[in-house]
Assembly symmetry: C2
């Protein structure tokens, strides 16, 4: 008789986070001697703390198989509940709930922070003499899981799909921009990725031959609003239009600071979007176009849209989930599943593992050598790195009644076995 | 020997405007005794005034066949150049250029304003004793071409695709919203359609069974920021989350007016997006959620994205373009091609015509009887009206090198035959 497995998600969703979830679930079925039931925590750590567990293995197979093409985290939920080492009570509670439900395997799908939580849970379990295997499943559209040298993990599941979103929409935006007359010729788009510029960088994949008037402002670009305006004006003199992709983490300098001083007016100015600050700056200072710069914030759509998911990313996310189970059962606790690019002309990956402590809490930036000298673009080396990740075809999203048919799990909690508990941050 | 045809586009693009363009081009080939060359004006009226004409018929067929799946107006351009009756010089110039290039057929793809322009050009040509046939091709994602009783045109090409965009993304947003924990539980999305609420209304197609906590605020809804906040809070008490779709034309009342008085601060406050005003209002006044309301402005993506185009809309846009040519050749000047729904259980349309003067310059609103009594939703009658327009499958967008392959026409102007001219509004 084996133990039970518990899977949980943390942090922002991705278009393929559910593919990893399905991979974990399917692989658990391959180890009937080790793993009995597979539970999912509803909304990640919040669900563990509140003992809100779903019997994932009891869900209809035809629904869980749809997880592969179901974006974002609506299936079992995720959370942003912060677990710091000071929250000893919360950690003890996690152990308590896992004991109560005879959990022997904990698979935690998330980014850097989550790997730190996984590490701590694993250590605490060991202190309690518990036989708990903790394994991380990497997930982040930002591609910023801590491995600056790309030796532990080539890229994170989720990134390929966010990259494909940007590669695709930048083409639509170019058609829009070409089509509209010169009276509206600067389009500013805000990309996610507060600290690492991998996402805005991927817009280059929509125009690898550099035919569009595209400028990319990553967090790492070193540009300011002033230099951005100069660059845009130069492009306007040349081609008459400009597409500006700006990271949400782009430093808008003193104007960014000024926002916080706006407390006396109707709206908290920190609610300004970076793309909006850029467009307003262009419109109000030294902007040579006849019309207005416009701005768009696609926002959460870049992480929650299934049709832009990359088939490569979907497959890899699924396999990484499977690999995590294999590692957990066969190698024991303390690892994160990873994927590494194999040598050779044709893109392929092999799945591997990295110690949790090596990837926890550290951040990977867009390498400086992948940013062009003028700071407005990425290099061809970046394109060669990222191009295979977006795949070569649309994903086969099933349509029913004119709409994508996503997995819909039954959210019914299994019987509670421990006393009521209020998470520290909910007190 | 026939005359030449000239086709031009005007106003905002749509995902299927190029399908109408292809329809016009292909149908012109069917009338070799009437029509010799097919020219396209580069950026609509601006291209006519400046005699910037492209030989559309000379473009490779394999490129023009891709127009069907190429979104927005990048192929031949559109414009927002306003032509009022006072601009007599411009109108005379249009006639001059058409004479110079022996244009006998003018096909004008656009919305209400464009139909007015087409009407005036036709009348002026007649005054000059010119043999010019002017035919309108309807296009607008807003579905607001002037026919309040739906007797002349059931819907406009472009609307079905914008509707499909909203039906699709509202599902993604719901997965996102379900997935994120209760600390971020109101998502405000801004939809296009300044005067008519057909676009935000279409978000209901993403949830026809009303399973999501979705509230729809059209321009016609009659709601205010205050009543919106009340409604959202009520939903939060019920389901703990809320998805708010708000029209860009939604009246934000005194806060909307206050924006214009913001001239003394760094940013022109008219640059606020409606979704942002709504989210800020929720965050700063009487909002009962623990976290922040977030806001997204998908902006031009809803009119320039090919993968969300509706196959039904693509086909209809193409056929309406074809029909316009048939009307022009066989019935003469002064009509706009239309489409009307046939009676019966199964959705189908027949193509027809309406006099330009009947559709020019008037606006169709979302009928009051299609808005629910509480003003937060649309009725099932609206769903029955709009559902067939979004189709039942993804469009077959061709992928090359991981990216959609759009039509790329050669933009090379044919030899000028009249003197240089500066459009009135460029003076």
């Amino acid at each position: 008789m084996g133990k039970n497995a518990l899977v949980a998600q943390s942090g922002g969703p991705s278009p393929v986070i559910n593919a990893s979830l399905e991979g974990v679930l399917e692989a658990c079925r391959d180890y009937p001697n080790h793993i009995d039931n597979v539970y999912a925590a509803w909304h990640g750590v919040e669900g563990i703390l509140q003992e809100q567990l779903i019997d994932l293995g009891a869900q209809p197979r035809e629904e869980t198989e749809l997880l592969r093409y179901t974006p974002a985290a609506g299936a079992i939920g995720t959370c942003r509940y912060k677990l710091t080492p000071e929250q000893g009570e919360d950690f003890e509670r996690i152990i308590e709930v896992m004991c109560a439900h005879d959990v022997g395997y904990f698979f935690y799908i998330g980014g850097n922070d989550s790997m730190d939580t996984a590490l701590r849970v694993g250590r605490l379990a060991r202190q309690h003499g518990l036989d708990l295997v903790v394994t991380g499943v990497p997930k982040t559209i930002d591609n910023d899981v801590g491995d600056p040298e790309f030796k532990l993990i080539d890229h994170t599941p989720g990134y390929g799909s966010a990259a494909r979103y940007w590669a695709s929409i930048i083409q639509s935006i170019n058609e829009e921009s070409r089509g509209i007359s010169t009276s509206e010729c600067v389009c500013v788009l805000q990309a996610m990725g507060r600290t690492a510029g991998f996402i805005p960088a991927a817009s280059r994949l929509g125009d690898p031959d550099r035919e569009m008037p595209l400028q990319i402002y990553t967090t790492e670009s070193g540009h300011t609003l002033e230099s951005l305006a100069d660059n845009v004006n130069r492009e306007l003199i040349g081609s008459g239009r400009c597409i500006v992709v700006v990271s949400e983490g782009f430093d808008v300098g003193s104007l960014g600071e000024a926002h916080d001083g706006f407390g006396h007016i109707e709206y908290g100015a920190s609610r300004f979007a970076v793309a909006q600050v850029v467009a307003n700056y262009l419109n109000e200072r030294g902007y040579r176009a006849r019309g207005q710069a416009t701005w768009q914030v696609p926002g959460v759509l870049q992480r929650s849209t299934s049709i832009y998911a990359s088939n490569v990313d979907i497959d890899e996310a699924y396999e990484v989930g499977r690999k995590a189970v294999e590692i957990g059962v066969e190698e024991g606790s303390g690892w994160m599943a990873t994927l590494l690019r194999t040598e050779g002309e044709t893109y392929s990956v092999r799945y591997d593992k990295a110690p949790l402590e090596k990837v926890a809490n550290s951040v990977r930036h867009l390498p400086a050598e992948w940013i062009s000298q003028d700071g407005l673009d990425v290099t061809d080396d970046f394109v060669r790195y990222a191009r295979p990740l977006i795949g070569d075809d649309w994903p086969p999203i099933r349509i029913e009644n004119g709409r994508p048919r996503f997995a819909r799990l039954t959210v019914q909690f299994i019987d509670k076995k421990s006393k009521d508990y209020v998470p520290v941050r909910f007190l």
